[in-house]
Symmetry: C5
Subunit: 373 residues, 5 copies
């Protein structure tokens, strides 16, 4: 195998290599008492990282902890506290922090079960949200999901993430550098900020996918279609299905969040959250449009590849048909009968050749006239 | 036939062997007075089994009965009573117990008619639910349904099941061993516990199916497609249709159950039941997503199998077309005309052979240029 | 033609023979004044039959009339009166009875127009319902509709049917023999009883269709597909379309009927009518599921029949391709050139034969390697 | 070309000849001030016709006018006045009458723009409705739309139509001859009467289409399918799309009309208008059912035409394959090698012929066994 | 390449040349603080143009500015002020004007982000709308979107557009020339006027597309289908998808706008805005209908192109099959056996020729009888 061919093969394989699990193996919890926290999901980061940031209008304070205990004992100053935990497989950490904030045990359970449907639960003294974050690997057409749990209390926000991917560092930087209004607003605005970051990331993912849709669409007009293209379309479709599945319920959740009332959300923040709803609807509509487009490209591809092949088959069949009659004539004059008068004719051979040319031309004209060629 | 081939054939047959009835033969009851209990369904267990467990916060008592009478006369102590009946074909047993608890005769009728749509009926002093349980046989791709009827009264729960499959023993064990909060909570929490067990089992079934979807999807990228694959896709689709049909109404039922108010459900339990609703919606959405994926794989399979076959046909047609012109030439020089000057030429034969090679190469180049090869 | 073949042909025709009208020729009434009763529909029975049954808790009285007049003058005793009219083409009969009970002229018009959408109309002193009854002819795959109009007054029920098919005799027998609660309940319960009988019949029809779906599905795994199968699928689809069309609005109607309030329906009957709603939803969902399944089987059939044919074509093309090169070689050595040195070789013939075998084997191996065989 | 063939060709063309515009060229009004009346649509009748009929319970008076002025000055007597204008291209006529009745200028604009969506506008002292009327040309499969505007005031009704097609003369005749209740009821009943006539006409159109669906369905079982059939299906589909598009919004409009309250509609008429709603829903459902059926027939046609063609191809390929091996054998013994021992054998020729027959029979049996023939 | 061919190729390319971006690259804003105005979109015009027009019932005053400052300082006189800004890439201009009118910073952000979903936001003292404008390039089948932001205050209207395309000059002309009621009405009527102009333009676009649908439909009945046609259908579908995506939410927005109440909209204007809703629904329904039609034409095209090709293949296969048997016969009598008695027969040659003709005729009749020809 030449090097070029090898590379081609490898590239072709690349389209199929990365496997993404469709459903998390939730059934592991089957034998457990409901309400018991048990981590369900792949372990995506080794170390559990706990970052805390407190801030008021004029100050901020930042710390990173190694254990949940330190984190709990730390909280002292007034202001907004945001604790971000990355790595969820060590359930004891999660449980300690959650107990400290008096969270319901169903909440704790939900935090550590990955692959959940986005949801919002309103409790007496906090709001609990589970949201999806998307990581898109352009090279392998692989869309990965990560789950973030957000807890909004009176003056604190807790976020729980599977890994350090899709980082929220940008927000912390804005707090540090006192950019925008974030230091002047409450915990509700921080949650808005986090969700806005998540949705902006989803837009990024969608744009990556839409670029590929455009590429596939453009390729559809060339003749260089192959099975790899088909697979690309398949992966695009699949990713859009997954994306839609996780963003569809988000609309309702944000709508719900918007209508929470003044207990958790100040009036001045409501307009920002309404904006999130709009963003989310726009995302979902774009996904739908892209799905329509991919389906359409798929159809076009099938039709045009079919067309091209049929053209070839037609050409070759006609081509073969033109050769059949002269072959019969030649066979006839190849017979060994003793009495075949034509064989003795002086110009028999020339006549036969002319006759063949005549027949072939006739067929040619006939097929042309019938618009078969 | 070799052993290998035989095994192959058997495996292929396996995909089609197990037959699942689509609809229960409900029409048997046509001639009966409405409201009369008459068992409709396959008899899945021979012996009717009646298990009773009573429990309070500090104690529990467990018993198994042979006849309905014993069961009825037994109930004495205060606390939560849960009676679980397995095997529904002996209507008299069911009727005696139901009468003891003053159930409406429509309820009794519903308990013994299998294949019902999931439903919830609220009566004055009890709530009646019919729910589906799913048993999935991975080997034969067969999804079987079993029906469970749950009656929630003030301080008792009755469950009626067709057979011992999909057992609820885990719950009894938790009661015995006082795990979780179950002994501290009321009958409503027990019902939550039962439904949670049922939904966890459905997740298990869905995961099994999703694994097969993944397997089929992976196979779609290989060339080893055959009719068995097509049948596998068919069974996956069918199972997802059935699963969706029985889980779709569950959402509404749980929503309804959630909103029952304080008569049957204590406030502390409401949040748990809301959690069931979320689980159920997640199940239905996963089913939808899997259906989309299976359809997609089906399309990809059809397209790629079509593609491959077309490629072969194209190759062979081109290949045949290249051989046609030299055959005509050979036939021409096989004619027996007396005056064919070329035949006497010294290098006639070589010339003809060269000419043939020339034509074949020409066609080869032509087809290559047209990107047909 | 042999007898077997003839039978085959006849069976094949059978699938297409019976024709069912899609829409009733309602436009006959175009020139009439709206509100004028004019029979629209096929005349399905020659004689108009009027059956009356009166009953109370302890007695019943039954009579059959020849003319509408007798029927009207008869009514004397207290209790529930049920008049069942079979045969609607004699509008004068209908009109007389309807006038006697003070029915609105739009009601009379609706009674005699067949092929209507199921509907419920609530008037001041009666409720008017139009419902479909289905007759399924398994042999010809023909689904026929019949229309029944039910009028529920304070203490009377009128039913109008096109013919004696789908009889309601079972109900009259239950009244006579005082089975169940029917004699103890009011006119509303009688209506429940009638609708329950109709729905039970629909279940029967659906079971017949589901049996055929199962049969078709099973046949899909065999190779014996033919055009008759395709037609069977077509008829199944069509019947399910018709069935759905007439049962879909029934749900709403029963929901409406359920919420009628205490004027027409006693509280004790409400739970029964709710049960009808459930039955109806179950019917509709089963229809939807069967439609999905039939579509699926159709797709599988198309795919697998396509597959099989393609396999044959592939085989034959490969087979032909293997024969082409030796034929060319034979033609070459059939040429009559004077100077063809190979022809004089002692083992020329054997060499050529060996060469042919060599080429054929080579092609064989090549095709095998490419997994084309 | 023979006469028969010519007729065939002409008939085939007939299917495609008549062209129906999809959208009215509304954009002509782009440069106009909104609210200016400007006729948009084809001019379908040359003369504007104004017919007026006044009637009370015991009398009627009818007149036809040449100019709008005469019409306006005429109105004197008490009773219900109905003015019917046919031909809308002369906007000045329309404007004069509308001004006389104090209609809003948006109403006037809507009256003269054809191709509008059906709609209802409620003004302070009148109700304005735009409804579609359908004309179906069975010969050319052409569905044409005409727009009727109805204005219902306290004691007058105005109707504006594009042309004299779909005439409302039947209603005038009923008024003249005092048939039914029309003379005894108010202007609202007259509007009911007009809409009922329109819907009855739609039923007629639908019946015509359903007859063609039946014809196409029946033809689907014969072998005589051709491209004309395909086009027929296409036209049926298209007509059903158009019909649905114009009847779909009608449901809502009639629902709206029904709920107008006592200002415009007397209580006694409400039940009649509810009947119109039912009719309209029935129309829409029938359209949906017919669409499903046409789609189904289309699929069946494609499948069965594909089937038939594949059968032919299969037959011919097998047939050709049987001839290939004997041809090779004959070619071999046509070679001119000097040393071909078989050629000298006495029975060589017979042996070869027998061998050929043997091979052909063998292939025949092989193909039969494989169920390819 | 001849000139004709070249032109053909160019025209074919034309169908694919113009590329339209599917999604705006919104993710550029990812790193920004939410609420910061940053222009997202292609820069479509170089110069920012600010046009202001003030008017009352009897006067108007018009001015064009170079900088935002001039514009702000200008406003003095009473009456309605309309400022139209074309070119949005210079965010500072936008910000200055917006600050002058006290607009929320989210509004400013929305104005400069292109590719947004149409939306309406109601603030305390103004209404903010984002609407799409469509530009259709008939030659390249390219549908381009432009975004217009409209702000409706008490006595002012601001409009922000990307470029000078889709101009609103017509409205300014109407104000200048005092046409219609515009000078007599308020700012709300001006907004109605603007939206009406936008929708009229959309109607124009839809009519252009519908003309192409008609053209494609007509071409579908001819035989001159080719890949360019397929691409045309693809572009039509795509444009309809995009159009629907941007008009679908408009319905809700206009419905919302209609129900704004008396704060921003005077009662006399409400009826006009309701008219906009109707127009918008009509647009969406027409789009849906056109989509159905295009899909239908696509199907018809595929079916008929398939049909035609199959006919050719069938013809050629039959044709080839007729030639196969005589070729075999000729080959047989071309064998070189010494003892072939027929070869010595006097009329052997004639007999064989006759036999060939006989066989060919037989096959001909057979195929005719089977209706394969």
């Amino acid at each position: 195998m030449t090097g070029l061919l090898k590379r081609k093969v490898r590239k072709k394989e690349a389209v199929t290599r990365k496997k993404v699990k469709i459903l998390e193996k939730r059934s592991q919890t089957k034998e457990l008492v409901p309400g018991t926290a048990f981590y369900v999901g792949e372990i995506k980061t080794e170390r559990v990282k706990i970052e805390e940031i407190c801030y008021g209008e004029t100050w901020y304070e930042e710390k990173e902890f190694d254990s949940a205990k330190d984190c709990i004992s730390f909280k002292e100053r007034k202001g907004i506290t945001w604790i971000n935990i990355e790595g969820l497989h060590d359930v004891s950490y999660i449980a300690q922090i959650c107990n400290h904030y008096n969270l319901h045990n169903l909440t704790v359970e939900d935090i550590v079960i990955m692959g959940q449907r986005p949801k919002i639960d309103i409790f007496e003294d906090y709001v609990f949200m589970v949201l999806p974050m998307h990581i898109y690997d352009k090279e392998y057409f692989a869309l990965d999901l990560e789950q973030i749990s957000i807890i909004l209390g009176k003056d604190y926000v807790l976020t729980f993430k599977e890994s350090a991917k899709c980082s929220l560092n940008g927000i912390r930087r804005h707090i540090r550098e006192n950019m925008g209004k974030i230091r002047k607003m409450g915990a509700d605005y921080l949650v808005y900020y986090i969700i806005d970051t998540i949705l902006d990331n989803d837009f990024k993912v969608l744009e990556d996918i839409s670029e590929e849709v455009e590429a596939v669409e453009e390729a559809a007009s060339d003749a260089n279609w192959n099975e790899a293209m088909l697979k690309k379309i398949h992966y695009l479709k699949r990713n859009l299905i997954i994306l839609r599945k996780s963003l569809w319920p988000l609309r309702e959740i944000l709508k719900h969040f918007e209508q929470l009332g003044t207990l958790f959300i100040k009036e001045v923040t409501t307009v920002y959250i309404k904006d999130l709803s709009d963003l989310c609807i726009q995302l979902v509509e774009n996904i739908e449009m892209l799905r329509d487009m991919v389906s359409d490209v798929h159809e076009i591809y099938l039709a045009s590849s079919n067309n091209r092949l049929n053209e070839i088959m037609k050409f070759l069949t006609i081509y073969a048909s033109i050769f059949i009659p002269p072959t019969l004539i030649a066979s006839i004059y190849g017979m060994n009968f003793e009495y075949m008068p034509e064989l003795q004719w002086k110009h028999g051979y020339s006549f036969v050749l002319l006759f063949m040319i005549f027949i072939v031309s006739g067929l040619f004209i006939f097929f042309k006239k019938k618009k078969w060629m």
